[in-house]
């Protein structure tokens, strides 16, 4: 008779634990080796003087907080922090409002709703390198589609070499990132809208509330928890954007779009200052980690409330 049968508790439980560890071992070992260890190693490099010679096995003396101090003293770092803040805030503002508007539209039943929604999602699924290349071409100064649109609608005076002008390059990159982000925001907000009890709207309509009043008094307050979650996720995903900006401008012109992720890349992979790059990387990590902590707290609270309800 086999020991692993329901009912025989003692050895059964021990056996189950053993099987559990056995099953989870490959996955956990992988995550330890390729995720946890590299991140710890990153922290280790950040307090050591590691350069190209370190890659070849040279000496790597401990240098305390020197890498952090050097990073904090670098004006380019603070410039990157400011650009990341503007990039993130601009992207979030537009992708959330546009996503919300689209979600309101797609929350209503109409023919072809599912098909059109899927088509919109395409924009989000395209590899960021493709979207970046695409928008570089759309925003091209001489033959870009946006400038052609402006010219053909009599607004040719506004046509512009968007990505090659430091004043407009960041705006162009934000535009591309909003394009990528809108469908994702719409999808998650749509899930929230579907969770609102339609009877609330019907009752309010019977009481004479017009569409705007129902939106202000019912939809908006009930969408608040979902909105905060979507914005936190958006913050995490936008703050770390690298490929899109890298492909569109490479951080330029000059340093007009040199957001924090690109700064880390340049220090680490172009200047080969591994110690300083690792330190800057950990600083880049701080914001998403903080947002992630808030996000996880919300998820847990929602789960608890879900169980209570």
């Amino acid at each position: 008779m086999r020991p692993g049968r329901p009912g025989d508790t003692g050895p059964h439980a021990a056996r189950r634990r053993r099987t559990g560890y056995l099953f989870s071992f490959p996955g956990l070992a992988f995550l330890a080796l390729l995720l946890a260890y590299p991140l710890l190693y990153n922290a280790w490099i950040s307090v050591h003087d590691v350069g190209l010679s370190g890659l070849l096995g040279g000496p790597e003396p401990f240098n305390g907080l020197a890498n952090y101090r050097a990073t904090a003293a670098d004006p380019a770092f603070w410039h990157a922090v400011r650009l990341s803040a503007v990039f993130t805030a601009g992207s979030l503002l537009f992708q959330f409002t546009l996503g919300f508007a689209l979600a309101l539209l797609f929350a209503r039943p109409f023919p072809l709703n599912g098909l059109l929604r899927s088509l919109l999602l395409m924009a989000w699924l395209l590899p960021p390198v493709v979207s970046g290349t695409l928008f570089k071409w759309m925003l091209d100064g001489d033959s870009g589609a946006y400038n052609a649109l402006l010219r053909s609608t009599g607004m040719g005076a506004l046509s512009h070499d968007w990505l090659n002008d430091p004043a407009t390059a960041l705006g162009g990159v934000i535009l591309a990132n909003v394009w990528v982000g809108v469908p994702f925001n719409m999808l998650l907000l749509l899930v929230g809208l579907h969770g609102i009890d339609p009877e609330l709207h019907e009752a309010a309509a019977l009481d004479g509330a017009n569409a705007w009043q129902r939106f202000r008094r019912i939809t908006l307050p009930l969408m608040r928890p979902v909105s905060v979650t979507v914005l936190l996720l958006g913050l995490i995903y936008t703050f770390k954007v690298f490929d899109l900006v890298f492909v569109m401008t490479g951080g330029g012109p000059v340093d007009a779009t040199d957001v924090l992720s690109l700064y880390v890349y340049q220090v680490f992979f172009t200047s080969f200052r591994f110690g300083r790059g690792a330190a800057a990387g950990l600083l880049l990590l701080a914001v998403p980690l903080l947002a992630a902590a808030l996000y996880v707290r919300r998820l847990r609270r929602e789960a608890r409330e879900g169980e209570a309800a």
């Binding site: 086999r2 692993g4 329901p6 189950r16 634990r17 099987t19 559990g20 099953f23 989870s24 490959p26 996955g27 992988f30 995550l31 390729l34 995720l35 490099i45 370190g54 039943p109 023919p111 072809l112 059109l116 088509l119 919109l120 999602l121 395409m122 924009a123 699924l125 395209l126 590899p127 390198v129 493709v130 290349t133 695409l134 928008f135 570089k136 071409w137 091209d140 033959s143 589609a145 010219r151 053909s152 809108v182 899930v191 339609p198 995490i236 770390k240 690298f242 490929d243 890298f246 492909v247 680490f268 992979f269 790059g277 990387g281 880049l284 998403p288 947002a291 996000y295 998820l299 789960a303």
Partner: protein, 275 residues
């Protein structure tokens, strides 16, 4: 919500918005089909006429694109395989076999999928170089799997929790071992979740750029995203071949999404709003 009075009006509005929104994607495909002398002009044609394939011929001319596509295919399939191989037993253990610390594990995975790749790429670059994994398929597949594995476990674990324990216990009584139960009872129930995870892992591997850029310097293993980016630098204004390349890179994404849409959308929302 009650059905709107004029549903087709809503359809027309939504269709117009969708069309305007997808203009960049249309423009990519349209440009790729235009004759080179019709591309760099002040008043471009909105519909390519006559349609030509010269941009595609040019894009494939030196063989770099074909090799990069093959590399990306190998890498993406590798990512799917490795992800499933590691994620299925791990999610099962976390879902069923009440181990100590499994709650913390799930939390850590949730946070892991939110990390900026560049912060991981930096130390991985040094570590993979030391063990000779840089410039190999395996090095790239392993790096990409750090993105897909946390996500896969977060999607699969709730599904596994939904498999009735009685079903498994019946199989155990009938003499299946735990691995047998996993293979014959549990796996069939979770097929939709597996399809979602496989599809999304493939898409992630196909579109991944940061690890490709930093961990693969040799063209022999470089994924197509990195090659597309180097085309952008090298052929600055040859937008025809560039858009042809971008279109080719997008095609598998579009096809896969069209086929697996239902699963993929479910997996996406599950991965980000559930824990």
């Amino acid at each position: 919500m009650k059905p709107p009075r004029r549903p087709w009006l809503l359809t027309a509005t939504a269709a117009a918005i969708t069309a305007a929104f997808l203009l960049p994607a249309y423009w990519m495909a349209a440009t790729s089909l235009k004759q080179p002398d019709r591309i760099l002009v002040a008043h471009p044609q909105w519909v390519p006429a006559p349609v030509t394939t010269v941009n595609y011929t040019a894009a494939f001319a030196d063989g770099a694109l074909a090799r990069a596509l093959a590399n990306s295919l190998v890498i993406s399939c590798g990512v799917v395989l490795l992800t499933l191989l590691l994620a299925v037993p791990l999610s099962y253990a976390l879902a069923r076999l009440r181990m100590r610390g499994s709650g913390t594990m799930v939390l850590a995975l949730l946070i892991a999928q939110l990390l900026p790749s560049i912060v991981l790429a930096a130390p991985l670059f040094i570590l993979e170089h030391r063990v000779g994994l840089d410039n190999t398929y395996l090095g790239l597949i392993a790096a990409d799997t750090t993105l897909t594995l946390p996500f896969a476990v977060i999607v699969l674990r709730p599904l596994l929790q939904g498999v009735p324990v009685e079903l498994e216990e019946a199989a155990l009584v009938d003499g299946c071992g735990r691995p047998g139960v996993l293979l014959r009872v549990v796996l069939p129930v979770m097929v939709p979740g597996l399809i979602a995870v496989a599809g999304l892992s493939f898409l992630l591997g196909w579109g991944e750029f940061i690890f490709g850029l930093t961990l693969a310097k040799r063209p022999e293993v470089q994924p197509v995203t990195v090659v597309l980016n180097s085309f952008v630098g090298a052929y600055g204004t040859s937008w025809g071949p560039l858009m042809a390349t971008a279109t080719i890179v997008s095609l598998p994404v579009v096809c896969l999404f069209a086929v697996l849409q239902r699963f993929v959308v479910g997996g996406l929302t599950a991965g980000s709003v559930r824990a």
